[in-house]
Amino acid sequence: MSTPILRLDGLSASYGQIAALHEATIEVRADEAVALLGANGAGKSTTMKTIMGLLKPVAGRIEFDGRDLSGVATFRRARLGIAYCPEGRRVFPGMTVRENLEVASNTDGAGTHRRVAALFEMFPVLAQREKALGWQLSGGQQQMLAIGRALMSAPRLLLLDEPSLGLSPLLTNEVLDRVRAIVGGGTAILLAEQNVGKALAVCHRAYVLQVGRVVRQGAAAELARSDDIRAAFLGA
Protein backbone atom coordinates (compact mmCIF):
# COMPACT_ATOMS: atom_id res chain seq x y z
CA MET A 1 0.00 0.00 0.00
CA SER A 2 1.43 3.40 -1.00
CA THR A 3 2.01 6.35 1.32
CA PRO A 4 -0.60 9.11 1.45
CA ILE A 5 -0.22 11.84 -1.17
CA LEU A 6 -2.73 14.01 0.70
CA ARG A 7 -3.17 14.18 4.45
CA LEU A 8 -5.63 16.46 6.24
CA ASP A 9 -4.88 16.56 9.95
CA GLY A 10 -7.53 18.04 12.25
CA LEU A 11 -8.65 20.48 9.56
CA SER A 12 -11.30 23.05 10.49
CA ALA A 13 -12.73 25.75 8.25
CA SER A 14 -15.52 28.30 8.46
CA TYR A 15 -17.38 30.93 6.46
CA GLY A 16 -17.16 33.95 8.73
CA GLN A 17 -18.72 32.90 12.03
CA ILE A 18 -20.30 29.78 10.55
CA ALA A 19 -18.16 26.69 11.09
CA ALA A 20 -18.32 24.32 8.12
CA LEU A 21 -15.62 21.73 8.84
CA HIS A 22 -14.56 20.41 12.28
CA GLU A 23 -11.20 18.73 12.83
CA ALA A 24 -11.39 16.52 9.77
CA THR A 25 -8.62 13.98 9.36
CA ILE A 26 -8.54 12.45 5.91
CA GLU A 27 -5.92 10.65 3.81
CA VAL A 28 -5.70 9.91 0.10
CA ARG A 29 -3.05 7.52 -1.22
CA ALA A 30 -1.41 7.98 -4.60
CA ASP A 31 -3.08 4.97 -6.18
CA GLU A 32 -6.65 5.30 -4.99
CA ALA A 33 -9.95 7.08 -5.41
CA VAL A 34 -11.49 8.23 -2.15
CA ALA A 35 -15.09 9.37 -1.80
CA LEU A 36 -16.35 12.11 0.48
CA LEU A 37 -19.98 11.30 1.18
CA GLY A 38 -22.62 13.36 2.87
CA ALA A 39 -25.73 15.42 2.44
CA ASN A 40 -25.84 19.07 1.35
CA GLY A 41 -23.96 21.20 3.88
CA ALA A 42 -21.98 18.25 5.24
CA GLY A 43 -18.69 19.99 4.41
CA LYS A 44 -17.63 18.17 1.23
CA SER A 45 -17.14 21.27 -0.95
CA THR A 46 -15.62 23.15 1.99
CA THR A 47 -13.00 20.41 2.30
CA MET A 48 -12.19 20.69 -1.42
CA LYS A 49 -11.94 24.49 -1.33
CA THR A 50 -9.73 24.41 1.75
CA ILE A 51 -7.37 21.87 0.16
CA MET A 52 -7.17 24.10 -2.94
CA GLY A 53 -6.42 27.20 -0.86
CA LEU A 54 -9.65 28.96 -1.81
CA LEU A 55 -10.72 28.96 1.85
CA LYS A 56 -8.31 29.56 4.70
CA PRO A 57 -8.42 26.89 7.44
CA VAL A 58 -8.99 28.07 10.99
CA ALA A 59 -7.13 25.08 12.43
CA GLY A 60 -5.31 21.95 11.33
CA ARG A 61 -2.84 21.12 8.65
CA ILE A 62 -2.86 20.07 4.99
CA GLU A 63 0.07 18.04 3.68
CA PHE A 64 0.54 17.23 0.02
CA ASP A 65 3.28 14.81 -0.88
CA GLY A 66 4.83 15.43 2.55
CA ARG A 67 4.79 19.21 2.13
CA ASP A 68 2.84 21.51 4.46
CA LEU A 69 0.55 23.67 2.31
CA SER A 70 0.10 26.45 4.90
CA GLY A 71 0.42 29.82 3.19
CA VAL A 72 0.83 28.27 -0.27
CA ALA A 73 -1.20 30.24 -2.86
CA THR A 74 -3.87 28.45 -4.89
CA PHE A 75 -1.96 28.66 -8.18
CA ARG A 76 1.14 27.18 -6.53
CA ARG A 77 -0.92 24.27 -5.13
CA ALA A 78 -2.08 23.64 -8.71
CA ARG A 79 1.52 23.72 -9.90
CA LEU A 80 2.50 21.22 -7.18
CA GLY A 81 0.09 18.73 -8.78
CA ILE A 82 -3.36 19.31 -7.28
CA ALA A 83 -6.16 19.79 -9.81
CA TYR A 84 -9.63 21.03 -8.93
CA CYS A 85 -12.84 20.34 -10.77
CA PRO A 86 -15.42 22.44 -8.92
CA GLU A 87 -19.10 22.03 -8.32
CA GLY A 88 -20.91 23.81 -11.16
CA ARG A 89 -18.10 23.07 -13.66
CA ARG A 90 -17.01 26.69 -14.18
CA VAL A 91 -15.48 26.17 -17.62
CA PHE A 92 -14.24 29.40 -19.22
CA PRO A 93 -17.41 30.46 -21.04
CA GLY A 94 -15.84 32.61 -23.77
CA MET A 95 -13.11 30.15 -24.74
CA THR A 96 -13.43 27.18 -27.07
CA VAL A 97 -13.22 23.59 -25.87
CA ARG A 98 -9.64 23.34 -27.17
CA GLU A 99 -8.66 26.66 -25.57
CA ASN A 100 -10.18 25.58 -22.24
CA LEU A 101 -7.93 22.53 -22.34
CA GLU A 102 -4.79 24.21 -23.67
CA VAL A 103 -4.85 27.03 -21.12
CA ALA A 104 -4.58 24.50 -18.29
CA SER A 105 -1.56 22.70 -19.75
CA ASN A 106 1.75 22.96 -17.93
CA THR A 107 3.93 21.56 -20.68
CA ASP A 108 5.26 22.66 -24.08
CA GLY A 109 3.33 22.81 -27.35
CA ALA A 110 3.93 19.21 -28.44
CA GLY A 111 3.12 17.86 -24.97
CA THR A 112 -0.04 19.95 -24.85
CA HIS A 113 -1.09 18.61 -28.24
CA ARG A 114 -0.59 15.02 -27.02
CA ARG A 115 -2.58 15.61 -23.84
CA VAL A 116 -5.48 17.22 -25.75
CA ALA A 117 -5.50 14.22 -28.11
CA ALA A 118 -5.56 11.80 -25.15
CA LEU A 119 -8.46 13.68 -23.57
CA PHE A 120 -10.37 13.72 -26.84
CA GLU A 121 -9.95 9.95 -26.82
CA MET A 122 -11.26 9.73 -23.25
CA PHE A 123 -14.17 12.11 -23.98
CA PRO A 124 -14.95 11.79 -27.73
CA VAL A 125 -17.80 14.30 -27.49
CA LEU A 126 -15.25 17.02 -26.70
CA ALA A 127 -13.44 16.30 -29.96
CA GLN A 128 -16.71 16.73 -31.83
CA ARG A 129 -17.30 20.11 -30.14
CA GLU A 130 -13.66 21.25 -30.23
CA LYS A 131 -14.48 24.72 -31.58
CA ALA A 132 -17.62 25.34 -29.51
CA LEU A 133 -17.41 27.99 -26.78
CA GLY A 134 -17.67 26.85 -23.17
CA TRP A 135 -21.11 28.39 -22.61
CA GLN A 136 -22.49 26.66 -25.70
CA LEU A 137 -21.94 23.15 -24.28
CA SER A 138 -24.58 21.07 -22.52
CA GLY A 139 -24.20 20.37 -18.79
CA GLY A 140 -22.72 16.93 -19.42
CA GLN A 141 -20.28 18.25 -22.00
CA GLN A 142 -19.23 21.04 -19.64
CA GLN A 143 -18.61 18.45 -16.91
CA MET A 144 -16.40 16.39 -19.22
CA LEU A 145 -14.58 19.57 -20.26
CA ALA A 146 -14.07 20.57 -16.62
CA ILE A 147 -12.59 17.14 -15.82
CA GLY A 148 -10.50 17.24 -18.99
CA ARG A 149 -9.21 20.71 -18.11
CA ALA A 150 -8.25 19.50 -14.63
CA LEU A 151 -6.33 16.57 -16.15
CA MET A 152 -4.40 18.75 -18.62
CA SER A 153 -1.69 19.42 -16.03
CA ALA A 154 -1.19 15.65 -15.48
CA PRO A 155 -1.95 16.17 -11.77
CA ARG A 156 -1.10 13.72 -9.01
CA LEU A 157 -4.35 14.48 -7.19
CA LEU A 158 -7.74 15.42 -8.65
CA LEU A 159 -10.36 17.05 -6.43
CA LEU A 160 -13.66 16.21 -8.11
CA ASP A 161 -16.55 18.11 -6.54
CA GLU A 162 -20.10 16.87 -7.22
CA PRO A 163 -19.57 15.86 -10.86
CA SER A 164 -23.08 14.42 -11.09
CA LEU A 165 -24.81 17.65 -10.06
CA GLY A 166 -27.43 18.55 -12.69
CA LEU A 167 -26.64 15.55 -14.89
CA SER A 168 -28.98 12.74 -15.92
CA PRO A 169 -28.29 9.28 -14.42
CA LEU A 170 -26.92 8.15 -17.77
CA LEU A 171 -24.46 11.06 -17.98
CA THR A 172 -23.56 10.64 -14.30
CA ASN A 173 -22.55 7.06 -15.02
CA GLU A 174 -20.61 8.15 -18.09
CA VAL A 175 -18.63 10.69 -16.04
CA LEU A 176 -18.08 8.57 -12.91
CA ASP A 177 -17.09 5.53 -14.97
CA ARG A 178 -13.92 7.44 -15.86
CA VAL A 179 -12.76 7.57 -12.23
CA ARG A 180 -10.96 4.21 -12.18
CA ALA A 181 -9.32 4.94 -15.55
CA ILE A 182 -8.01 8.26 -14.24
CA VAL A 183 -6.58 6.60 -11.12
CA GLY A 184 -5.03 3.93 -13.36
CA GLY A 185 -3.33 6.77 -15.25
CA GLY A 186 -1.50 7.86 -12.08
CA THR A 187 -3.85 10.51 -10.67
CA ALA A 188 -5.35 9.97 -7.21
CA ILE A 189 -8.92 11.23 -6.79
CA LEU A 190 -10.84 12.77 -3.91
CA LEU A 191 -14.47 12.65 -5.03
CA ALA A 192 -17.23 14.61 -3.28
CA GLU A 193 -20.49 13.08 -4.37
CA GLN A 194 -24.12 12.82 -3.31
CA ASN A 195 -24.74 9.83 -5.58
CA VAL A 196 -23.48 7.51 -2.86
CA GLY A 197 -24.15 4.20 -4.60
CA LYS A 198 -22.18 5.15 -7.67
CA ALA A 199 -19.41 6.85 -5.68
CA LEU A 200 -18.90 3.72 -3.55
CA ALA A 201 -18.87 1.60 -6.71
CA VAL A 202 -16.02 3.52 -8.35
CA CYS A 203 -13.92 4.52 -5.28
CA HIS A 204 -11.60 2.41 -3.15
CA ARG A 205 -12.32 4.05 0.20
CA ALA A 206 -14.75 6.62 1.57
CA TYR A 207 -15.26 9.09 4.39
CA VAL A 208 -18.76 10.03 5.54
CA LEU A 209 -19.25 13.64 6.63
CA GLN A 210 -22.10 14.91 8.79
CA VAL A 211 -22.42 18.60 9.65
CA GLY A 212 -18.73 19.13 9.00
CA ARG A 213 -17.44 16.12 10.94
CA VAL A 214 -16.02 12.83 9.71
CA VAL A 215 -18.36 10.26 11.26
CA ARG A 216 -17.40 7.13 9.36
CA GLN A 217 -14.61 5.86 7.14
CA GLY A 218 -13.61 2.61 5.55
CA ALA A 219 -13.28 0.57 2.38
CA ALA A 220 -15.93 1.50 -0.17
CA ALA A 221 -17.14 -2.08 -0.57
CA GLU A 222 -17.55 -2.43 3.21
CA LEU A 223 -19.46 0.83 3.52
CA ALA A 224 -21.70 -0.16 0.61
CA ARG A 225 -22.68 -3.28 2.55
CA SER A 226 -23.15 -1.45 5.86
CA ASP A 227 -26.75 -1.27 7.00
CA ASP A 228 -26.61 2.27 8.39
CA ILE A 229 -25.01 3.65 5.21
CA ARG A 230 -27.55 1.80 3.09
CA ALA A 231 -30.37 3.20 5.24
CA ALA A 232 -29.02 6.74 5.32
CA PHE A 233 -27.90 7.15 1.71
CA LEU A 234 -29.06 4.27 -0.44
CA GLY A 235 -32.71 4.11 0.57
CA ALA A 236 -32.43 0.50 1.62
Binding site: M52, L54, A73, T74, F75, A78, R79, A83, Y84, P86, R90, F92, P93, G94, M95, E99, E102, V103, A104, S105, N106, L133, W135, L137, S138, G139, Q142, R149, A150, M152, S153, G166
Partner: protein, 312 residues
Amino acid sequence: MLTLQLLANGLALGAAYALCALGFVLVLNATGAVNFTQGDMVMAGGFAAIATAAMLAPLWPGAVPGLVVLPVVTAGMAVLGVIFSLFAYFPLKSRPPVATIISTIALGIVFQNAANAIWGPEPRAAPPLLDASLVRFGELAIPKQSLAVIVVAAALIAGQHLLFSRTPLGRKMRATAQDRTMAAAIGIDVNAMIALTFALATALAGAAGALLSNTFFVTPSDGTNYIVKAYIAVTIGGWGSIAGAVAGALLIALFEVIFPALPLIVPALFGSDALGWLFSQTAASILLYAVVLAILFFRPQGLFGELVQRRA
Protein backbone atom coordinates in the same frame (compact mmCIF):
# COMPACT_ATOMS: atom_id res chain seq x y z
CA MET B 1 -13.23 64.14 -52.14
CA LEU B 2 -14.03 66.00 -48.95
CA THR B 3 -15.85 62.94 -47.67
CA LEU B 4 -12.79 60.75 -48.17
CA GLN B 5 -10.56 63.26 -46.40
CA LEU B 6 -12.99 63.44 -43.49
CA LEU B 7 -13.20 59.66 -43.46
CA ALA B 8 -9.41 59.43 -43.15
CA ASN B 9 -9.42 61.98 -40.30
CA GLY B 10 -12.29 60.17 -38.59
CA LEU B 11 -10.56 56.80 -38.88
CA ALA B 12 -7.32 58.23 -37.48
CA LEU B 13 -9.16 59.73 -34.50
CA GLY B 14 -11.22 56.55 -34.09
CA ALA B 15 -8.14 54.33 -34.19
CA ALA B 16 -6.61 56.29 -31.32
CA TYR B 17 -9.91 56.25 -29.38
CA ALA B 18 -10.02 52.49 -30.00
CA LEU B 19 -6.63 51.99 -28.32
CA CYS B 20 -7.90 53.83 -25.26
CA ALA B 21 -11.23 51.93 -25.20
CA LEU B 22 -9.45 48.61 -25.74
CA GLY B 23 -7.28 49.15 -22.66
CA PHE B 24 -10.34 50.25 -20.72
CA VAL B 25 -12.24 47.04 -21.51
CA LEU B 26 -9.20 44.80 -20.86
CA VAL B 27 -8.88 46.11 -17.30
CA LEU B 28 -12.65 46.02 -16.84
CA ASN B 29 -12.73 42.33 -17.77
CA ALA B 30 -9.66 41.39 -15.72
CA THR B 31 -10.62 43.21 -12.52
CA GLY B 32 -14.36 43.79 -12.75
CA ALA B 33 -13.73 47.48 -12.06
CA VAL B 34 -13.84 50.57 -14.26
CA ASN B 35 -10.43 52.21 -14.56
CA PHE B 36 -11.20 55.92 -14.72
CA THR B 37 -7.50 56.76 -15.10
CA GLN B 38 -7.41 55.28 -18.60
CA GLY B 39 -8.15 58.73 -20.14
CA ASP B 40 -5.42 60.34 -18.06
CA MET B 41 -3.03 57.65 -19.32
CA VAL B 42 -3.76 58.92 -22.87
CA MET B 43 -2.85 62.41 -21.67
CA ALA B 44 0.28 61.03 -19.96
CA GLY B 45 1.25 59.28 -23.20
CA GLY B 46 0.99 62.59 -25.06
CA PHE B 47 3.27 64.38 -22.60
CA ALA B 48 5.60 61.37 -22.44
CA ALA B 49 5.98 61.60 -26.24
CA ILE B 50 6.89 65.30 -25.96
CA ALA B 51 9.36 64.62 -23.15
CA THR B 52 10.91 61.63 -24.94
CA ALA B 53 11.33 63.62 -28.16
CA ALA B 54 13.12 66.34 -26.17
CA MET B 55 15.40 63.77 -24.50
CA LEU B 56 16.29 62.08 -27.78
CA ALA B 57 16.80 65.36 -29.66
CA PRO B 58 20.56 65.65 -28.92
CA LEU B 59 21.07 62.08 -30.19
CA TRP B 60 19.07 62.51 -33.39
CA PRO B 61 20.04 64.57 -36.43
CA GLY B 62 17.07 66.83 -37.25
CA ALA B 63 13.61 66.46 -35.73
CA VAL B 64 13.01 63.23 -33.83
CA PRO B 65 10.24 61.35 -35.67
CA GLY B 66 7.31 60.07 -33.63
CA LEU B 67 7.94 56.58 -34.95
CA VAL B 68 11.15 56.50 -32.87
CA VAL B 69 9.44 58.06 -29.86
CA LEU B 70 6.42 55.71 -29.91
CA PRO B 71 8.13 52.43 -28.83
CA VAL B 72 9.91 54.21 -25.97
CA VAL B 73 6.65 55.80 -24.79
CA THR B 74 4.72 52.52 -25.12
CA ALA B 75 7.32 50.58 -23.11
CA GLY B 76 7.53 53.30 -20.45
CA MET B 77 3.76 53.46 -20.15
CA ALA B 78 3.61 49.67 -19.73
CA VAL B 79 5.91 49.99 -16.72
CA LEU B 80 3.77 52.86 -15.42
CA GLY B 81 0.72 50.59 -15.79
CA VAL B 82 2.25 47.96 -13.50
CA ILE B 83 3.22 50.62 -10.93
CA PHE B 84 -0.27 52.11 -11.19
CA SER B 85 -1.85 48.70 -10.51
CA LEU B 86 0.28 48.32 -7.36
CA PHE B 87 -1.31 51.49 -5.95
CA ALA B 88 -4.78 51.60 -7.49
CA TYR B 89 -5.82 47.94 -7.67
CA PHE B 90 -3.86 45.39 -5.65
CA PRO B 91 -4.25 46.96 -2.17
CA LEU B 92 -8.02 47.08 -2.80
CA LYS B 93 -8.60 43.89 -4.77
CA SER B 94 -10.50 42.12 -1.99
CA ARG B 95 -12.79 45.11 -1.53
CA PRO B 96 -15.88 45.77 -3.67
CA PRO B 97 -15.07 47.10 -7.21
CA VAL B 98 -16.26 50.58 -6.22
CA ALA B 99 -13.11 50.94 -4.06
CA THR B 100 -10.93 50.46 -7.16
CA ILE B 101 -13.13 52.84 -9.15
CA ILE B 102 -12.64 55.57 -6.53
CA SER B 103 -8.89 54.94 -6.31
CA THR B 104 -8.54 55.26 -10.10
CA ILE B 105 -10.47 58.56 -10.03
CA ALA B 106 -8.19 59.81 -7.24
CA LEU B 107 -5.00 58.80 -9.06
CA GLY B 108 -6.34 60.40 -12.25
CA ILE B 109 -6.60 63.71 -10.39
CA VAL B 110 -3.02 63.23 -9.16
CA PHE B 111 -1.87 62.63 -12.75
CA GLN B 112 -3.69 65.74 -14.02
CA ASN B 113 -2.19 67.97 -11.35
CA ALA B 114 1.27 66.49 -11.81
CA ALA B 115 1.09 67.16 -15.57
CA ASN B 116 -0.11 70.68 -14.91
CA ALA B 117 2.77 71.29 -12.49
CA ILE B 118 5.38 69.88 -14.90
CA TRP B 119 4.20 71.08 -18.32
CA GLY B 120 1.64 73.81 -17.55
CA PRO B 121 -1.88 74.17 -18.92
CA GLU B 122 -0.99 75.26 -22.49
CA PRO B 123 -1.65 72.84 -25.35
CA ARG B 124 1.48 71.11 -26.62
CA ALA B 125 2.18 68.91 -29.64
CA ALA B 126 4.31 65.79 -29.96
CA PRO B 127 6.27 65.18 -33.17
CA PRO B 128 4.46 63.54 -36.13
CA LEU B 129 5.10 59.83 -36.66
CA LEU B 130 6.95 60.44 -39.93
CA ASP B 131 6.57 64.09 -40.99
CA ALA B 132 3.88 66.72 -41.48
CA SER B 133 3.55 66.33 -45.25
CA LEU B 134 0.49 65.31 -47.26
CA VAL B 135 0.04 62.11 -49.24
CA ARG B 136 -1.72 62.76 -52.55
CA PHE B 137 -3.97 60.28 -54.33
CA GLY B 138 -4.94 62.28 -57.42
CA GLU B 139 -6.88 65.26 -56.09
CA LEU B 140 -7.19 63.71 -52.67
CA ALA B 141 -4.65 64.96 -50.12
CA ILE B 142 -4.45 63.20 -46.76
CA PRO B 143 -1.99 64.10 -43.98
CA LYS B 144 0.71 61.45 -43.73
CA GLN B 145 0.20 61.63 -39.95
CA SER B 146 -3.45 60.49 -40.28
CA LEU B 147 -2.47 57.49 -42.42
CA ALA B 148 0.41 56.61 -40.09
CA VAL B 149 -1.89 56.81 -37.06
CA ILE B 150 -4.39 54.46 -38.73
CA VAL B 151 -1.65 51.97 -39.68
CA VAL B 152 0.09 52.02 -36.27
CA ALA B 153 -3.17 51.77 -34.31
CA ALA B 154 -4.41 48.95 -36.55
CA ALA B 155 -1.10 47.11 -36.02
CA LEU B 156 -1.37 47.51 -32.23
CA ILE B 157 -4.99 46.30 -32.20
CA ALA B 158 -4.09 43.35 -34.43
CA GLY B 159 -1.12 42.60 -32.16
CA GLN B 160 -3.40 42.57 -29.12
CA HIS B 161 -5.81 40.24 -30.93
CA LEU B 162 -3.02 37.84 -31.91
CA LEU B 163 -1.62 37.90 -28.37
CA PHE B 164 -4.98 36.93 -26.91
CA SER B 165 -6.01 34.36 -29.53
CA ARG B 166 -2.74 32.67 -30.51
CA THR B 167 -0.39 32.66 -27.54
CA PRO B 168 -0.42 30.75 -24.24
CA LEU B 169 0.14 34.02 -22.37
CA GLY B 170 -2.86 35.62 -24.05
CA ARG B 171 -5.04 32.62 -23.24
CA LYS B 172 -3.99 32.88 -19.60
CA MET B 173 -4.92 36.57 -19.59
CA ARG B 174 -8.33 35.72 -21.09
CA ALA B 175 -8.90 32.92 -18.59
CA THR B 176 -8.07 35.34 -15.76
CA ALA B 177 -10.57 37.85 -17.17
CA GLN B 178 -13.30 35.19 -17.39
CA ASP B 179 -12.92 33.51 -14.00
CA ARG B 180 -10.12 34.53 -11.65
CA THR B 181 -10.76 31.74 -9.12
CA MET B 182 -10.65 28.97 -11.73
CA ALA B 183 -7.65 30.56 -13.43
CA ALA B 184 -5.76 30.29 -10.14
CA ALA B 185 -7.04 26.74 -9.65
CA ILE B 186 -5.44 25.65 -12.94
CA GLY B 187 -2.08 27.14 -11.96
CA ILE B 188 -2.25 30.63 -13.45
CA ASP B 189 -0.61 33.39 -11.42
CA VAL B 190 -3.66 35.63 -11.50
CA ASN B 191 -1.93 38.64 -9.93
CA ALA B 192 0.78 38.53 -12.58
CA MET B 193 -1.84 38.33 -15.33
CA ILE B 194 -3.74 41.31 -13.90
CA ALA B 195 -0.53 43.34 -13.61
CA LEU B 196 0.25 42.45 -17.24
CA THR B 197 -3.25 43.51 -18.24
CA PHE B 198 -2.69 46.90 -16.61
CA ALA B 199 0.65 47.12 -18.44
CA LEU B 200 -0.97 46.34 -21.79
CA ALA B 201 -3.92 48.69 -21.19
CA THR B 202 -1.67 51.56 -20.14
CA ALA B 203 0.72 50.94 -23.04
CA LEU B 204 -2.22 51.13 -25.47
CA ALA B 205 -3.46 54.35 -23.83
CA GLY B 206 0.06 55.80 -23.97
CA ALA B 207 0.34 54.91 -27.64
CA ALA B 208 -3.03 56.61 -28.25
CA GLY B 209 -1.74 59.73 -26.49
CA ALA B 210 1.46 59.77 -28.52
CA LEU B 211 -0.53 59.32 -31.75
CA LEU B 212 -3.19 61.96 -30.95
CA SER B 213 -1.01 64.66 -29.46
CA ASN B 214 0.47 65.74 -32.79
CA THR B 215 -2.80 66.56 -34.53
CA PHE B 216 -5.02 67.31 -31.52
CA PHE B 217 -2.41 68.61 -29.05
CA VAL B 218 -2.36 67.64 -25.39
CA THR B 219 -3.27 69.49 -22.19
CA PRO B 220 -3.36 68.13 -18.59
CA SER B 221 -7.17 68.06 -18.53
CA ASP B 222 -7.60 66.00 -21.74
CA GLY B 223 -8.04 62.73 -19.85
CA THR B 224 -11.65 63.49 -18.94
CA ASN B 225 -12.61 63.75 -22.61
CA TYR B 226 -10.86 60.48 -23.48
CA ILE B 227 -12.32 58.47 -20.61
CA VAL B 228 -15.80 59.68 -21.52
CA LYS B 229 -15.19 58.59 -25.13
CA ALA B 230 -13.86 55.21 -23.99
CA TYR B 231 -16.85 54.74 -21.71
CA ILE B 232 -19.27 55.60 -24.54
CA ALA B 233 -17.39 53.32 -26.96
CA VAL B 234 -17.64 50.40 -24.55
CA THR B 235 -21.31 51.13 -23.88
CA ILE B 236 -22.09 51.29 -27.59
CA GLY B 237 -19.96 48.28 -28.44
CA GLY B 238 -21.15 46.09 -25.60
CA TRP B 239 -19.89 46.13 -22.00
CA GLY B 240 -16.93 43.77 -21.84
CA SER B 241 -16.69 43.14 -25.59
CA ILE B 242 -13.20 43.77 -26.98
CA ALA B 243 -14.30 43.90 -30.62
CA GLY B 244 -17.28 46.04 -29.61
CA ALA B 245 -15.02 48.58 -27.89
CA VAL B 246 -12.98 49.03 -31.08
CA ALA B 247 -16.10 49.28 -33.24
CA GLY B 248 -17.73 51.71 -30.78
CA ALA B 249 -14.64 53.94 -30.77
CA LEU B 250 -14.57 54.07 -34.58
CA LEU B 251 -18.27 54.93 -34.72
CA ILE B 252 -17.87 57.77 -32.19
CA ALA B 253 -14.92 59.30 -34.02
CA LEU B 254 -16.57 59.06 -37.44
CA PHE B 255 -19.69 60.66 -36.01
CA GLU B 256 -17.67 63.48 -34.38
CA VAL B 257 -15.81 64.25 -37.59
CA ILE B 258 -18.49 63.70 -40.21
CA PHE B 259 -21.68 64.96 -38.53
CA PRO B 260 -20.59 68.62 -38.14
CA ALA B 261 -19.39 68.56 -41.78
CA LEU B 262 -22.65 67.26 -43.26
CA PRO B 263 -23.68 70.69 -44.67
CA LEU B 264 -20.37 70.77 -46.57
CA ILE B 265 -20.66 67.17 -47.76
CA VAL B 266 -24.27 67.43 -48.99
CA PRO B 267 -24.96 71.17 -49.37
CA ALA B 268 -28.11 70.49 -51.39
CA LEU B 269 -29.79 68.94 -48.36
CA PHE B 270 -28.57 71.45 -45.79
CA GLY B 271 -28.26 74.59 -47.92
CA SER B 272 -29.89 76.93 -45.46
CA ASP B 273 -27.69 78.71 -42.92
CA ALA B 274 -30.61 78.55 -40.54
CA LEU B 275 -29.70 74.92 -39.83
CA GLY B 276 -26.06 75.74 -39.12
CA TRP B 277 -26.52 75.43 -35.33
CA LEU B 278 -27.67 71.85 -35.77
CA PHE B 279 -24.28 70.84 -37.15
CA SER B 280 -22.09 72.51 -34.57
CA GLN B 281 -19.67 70.50 -32.39
CA THR B 282 -21.92 71.22 -29.40
CA ALA B 283 -24.99 69.81 -31.14
CA ALA B 284 -22.92 66.80 -32.24
CA SER B 285 -21.97 66.13 -28.60
CA ILE B 286 -25.59 66.46 -27.44
CA LEU B 287 -26.73 64.06 -30.16
CA LEU B 288 -23.96 61.57 -29.30
CA TYR B 289 -25.01 61.43 -25.65
CA ALA B 290 -28.68 61.15 -26.68
CA VAL B 291 -27.79 58.15 -28.87
CA VAL B 292 -25.92 56.54 -25.97
CA LEU B 293 -28.96 56.99 -23.72
CA ALA B 294 -31.16 55.45 -26.42
CA ILE B 295 -28.79 52.47 -26.73
CA LEU B 296 -28.77 51.99 -22.97
CA PHE B 297 -32.57 52.04 -22.99
CA PHE B 298 -33.32 49.91 -26.05
CA ARG B 299 -30.25 47.67 -26.27
CA PRO B 300 -28.41 47.59 -22.93
CA GLN B 301 -26.01 44.86 -24.12
CA GLY B 302 -24.69 47.34 -26.74
CA LEU B 303 -24.71 47.08 -30.51
CA PHE B 304 -22.21 44.23 -30.58
CA GLY B 305 -22.70 42.82 -27.07
CA GLU B 306 -21.33 39.34 -26.55
CA LEU B 307 -24.08 36.85 -25.81
CA VAL B 308 -21.99 34.94 -23.32
CA GLN B 309 -24.17 32.87 -21.04
CA ARG B 310 -23.73 30.10 -18.57
CA ARG B 311 -25.76 26.93 -18.70
CA ALA B 312 -27.15 25.65 -15.45
